[in-house]
Symmetry: C2
Subunit: 331 residues, 2 copies
């Protein structure tokens, strides 16, 4: 344990103290450590772990253009009016042209940037190597430990990584618009099985009634479940229907907190997280270790002399080399 706490431990400890005392700059710097997957993460997160579990973590997903950011903005305003503190995590793809996360929709959030009860963070997918769901999970933990009552996690796309990100949420809102396609498209995108609440936004547009009806029909085809997924109509830009979304979320939270299956899910989640944390560190050590061995397998694979599979087999069949590789620490 010492070995890990030692890596920048003093600095991190001081940041954690300041963050827990309410310092926003310290919170932002800890988030950067998390986003960069710094080596001191396990030590940092094990310190914060006992402080977490209080926030209601709500995921917002759906196709681009559904109005998720506007809905998030309204939910923030609603929660603030009720005196609740709010964190927002926006998972954005990165672009080599804009040089970072696309901030178009974040501009709408500017009214909240000066509010000390709100903290907004964009997470870019750049160079994530499958690490984005992990970074999002740890950023949410930081906001939880910081004392936020509500943490909104918004994704831009609706692909597999975005669904993985959504797994960290207590409640998942799938936002659709009348033109988002028919029931088959929604099923194809894997949205039906993750939704705890459906929102049909821009409900004044043509086709909104048809979409609500199709959703209701699809939901009828599900096997019986203790939670009936509500379909809520909103017009986020006009602030219509937001109270219904908030009420649905409150009911869902009450539902998951009171069911027995929650403990079983939490145990499985912790076990999966242990493997994830170990895997992330082993991958890091592998990359460092392989690069540090000159004229080794990596060089031979790079030049094309050895194919990647044969190179991997050479390393995996040699226990001593393998043990040496995973023992390697970063400088």
């Amino acid at each position: 344990v010492r070995q890990f706490a030692d890596v920048g431990g003093d600095r991190t400890d001081a940041l954690v103290e300041r963050m827990l005392a309410g310092d926003r700059t310290a919170l932002a710097r800890l988030m950067t450590l998390v986003e960069n997957r710094a080596p001191e993460l396990p030590a940092l997160m094990s310190r914060l772990y006992p402080r977490t579990g209080r926030a209601h973590v709500v995921g917002l997903t759906g196709p681009p253009g559904a109005g998720k950011s506007t809905l998030a903005d309204r939910l923030v305003a609603h929660a603030r009016a009720a005196g609740r503190r709010v964190g927002v995590v926006a998972v954005d793809p990165s672009s080599p042209f804009s040089g970072g996360a696309v901030l178009g929709d974040r501009i709408r959030m500017q009214s909240h940037f000066l509010d000390p009860g709100v903290f907004i963070r964009s997470l870019s997918t750049r160079g994530s190597h499958g690490g984005l769901p992990r970074a999002a999970r740890d950023v949410v933990r930081l906001l939880d430990a910081y004392g936020m009552d509500l943490v909104l996690v918004e994704t831009v796309g609706v692909g597999q990584t975005e669904l993985d990100v959504m797994r960290l949420a207590d409640s998942i809102v799938v936002v659709l618009v009348p033109e988002a396609g028919d029931a088959v498209q929604i099923m194809k995108a894997g949205l039906l099985e993750i939704a705890d609440v459906f929102v049909v936004n821009k409900a004044d547009r043509d086709g909104a009634d048809r979409m609500q009806m199709e959703l209701a029909q699809m939901l009828h085809l599900r096997p019986p479940s203790p939670w009936d997924i509500p379909v809520v109509a909103t017009q986020a830009v006009r602030d219509v229907g937001i109270g219904d979304v908030v009420a649905a979320l409150a009911r869902h939270r009450e539902h998951v907190t009171s069911t027995d299956e929650r403990a079983g899910r939490a145990a499985a989640r912790r076990a999966a997280e242990l493997v994830d944390i170990l895997d992330e560190e082993l991958r890091r050590r592998l990359e460092t270790g392989l690069a540090a061995a000159p004229n080794g397998v990596l060089a031979s694979v790079r030049s094309g002399e050895t194919d990647p599979y044969s190179g991997a087999m050479r390393i995996l069949s040699d226990a001593t080399t393998l043990a040496g590789l995973v023992r390697t620490r970063e400088p």
Copy 2:
């Protein structure tokens, strides 16, 4: 090396021989091994590696409802008419309701199912644990080794995993429809930076001209590049514009084959693949090893007595335990 070749080696060898001799059943069974991430994968793929690199691998991506499956169907028909053999890999999300990949659009492909020059495979995302891009890559390699001239890879969503899947393609076609949203939505989905060819499908609909113009304007904002990304208008259901897509793809293939940067990209790709293969096997060993140690760290994390980060630190700081874990082979 023996250790790996031994795992079901005889059976796999026989399958490979039969597959290379043109046996479709053997090809299908090898694909199942790949999809299940069987332990003999490195040995299998290292045998096939020298047989690959001949096929033109074309990725088709874009929002749900853009008509990718119809376009794929037309591209298959076009290639078959030219005497080329075609593989199709459809990356579909899975649904607990349908019990597997959603096959709605696959039905359209049925005309090709009886054609011995076509092989179609759906890959489900179920339980992929980030392994889907790897499975897709290896399935494409199998089709390449089998002797397909063209391999089409189609994804349903437009999220991060789907973008990762697209990385295996030589040429990426981004399919849009007039109602797919404006330029900002396309940039937000990360589609602009991966496209080698843009297709505006359903080009008879309102807004098609506007979308083509917006795309052209966006493309003008890019830094100068040796490849000018073409924007092709199609009506796939009416078989309009397919020849233009084929021509654009042929030009792009010619372009990437003739540029110097290709060798550098291939070296980096091989190096990344080595790390991926090792990481996948280490994760597998970790999971097996942790589960095999009763009353160990896993049990303590599962019960909540230890948090996942502290559990990971305990294992990582003990080189002997760690070496033992990653040495563990599956039974």
